[in-house]
Point group: C2
Chain length 157, copies 2
Amino acid sequence: MKLSGGVEWAVHCCVVLSQAEAPVPAQRLAEFHGISRTYLAKHLQQLSRAGLVRSTEGRVGGYALTRPADEITVLDVVLAIEGREQAFRCTEIRQNGPLPASPQACRKACGVARAMHAAEQAWRDSLTAVTVADLAAGVEDDAGPGTFDRVREWLAT
Amino acid sequence: MKLSGGVEWAVHCCVVLSQAEAPVPAQRLAEFHGISRTYLAKHLQQLSRAGLVRSTEGRVGGYALTRPADEITVLDVVLAIEGREQAFRCTEIRQNGPLPASPQACRKACGVARAMHAAEQAWRDSLTAVTVADLAAGVEDDAGPGTFDRVREWLAT
DNA sequence: GCATTCATACTCGGATATACTCTGTCCGAGTTCTGCAGG
DNA sequence: CCTGCAGAACTCGGACAGAGTATATCCGAGTATGAATGC
């Protein structure tokens, strides 16, 4: 049970992108956050494949969000990085051994899987309730108004 | 975001142990579930270190629950296997780069970390709501009454 | 017949290899800007 | 002075190593059983 460190990078990048008017190169995003450029590029590719950001090549290229920030949930970003498969995968060990569960009983998922999946659904619901726009608003609340003005100014240089 | 396969084994083993009167050796648990004995032993050790099961050595040794099954939550088992640390670890990248967040603003956790931790808390709450006793009751519901009688009978052989 | 002792069989526990995924990096393909030459 | 073209610089994208962790396994330490032996 460990989330990739790239998740944190990706979410922060989405918040920055939500405040940029022009495409932002991976190079810029990396130095803004003080992280590895090449490795961040890998994660941005995953965001691109998931359809969350659009990449433009060329001299003034970079990354930009494909949707308004209030239509991108944190779960979207997490799933883009971590993959869409469930964290818990039932291997149906109840069907093994000397007393296997009957096919009749296996119509429905076993209780263990149900509990794990319910918990995961609660996790997803919680992440769905927060959008990138919410996070951006939170930054202005925490760091004071005008923060994103300075960010935009720095991005333009 | 991937749970260890051992989690599934551990939970199922706890359900079986909740129905056994005598200590059950790892060998027995492994063949009951059709899984590797030596690897299961590793996970049982983790349950033992977490204080969920007690191990007795010797000829009639084995594992037994230390508490009533309705006082062991699924979360207890999961944390014993996966470790107690959070899945999301904030590396505070907001403090890096050319526009670092002020120490003033860093009094509270950043919005990203708050959202991730809230989701993880929801996940834990959901797992806390289910006990091993609940799962055992579910097995009897799914596989029919008398299932655990057969299990006990097999364990005694 | 009974108590003691000793060998035995069975258990757990930690130390030990292997496979796989995450982390981190590099170079090539493609696109746009810019400078320059020609009309 | 304007237009077209070529070069160059900058971008993304996928292919390539290294490290850490999950997976799987083995052998040694410890204990209760049970039989054998002596009284």
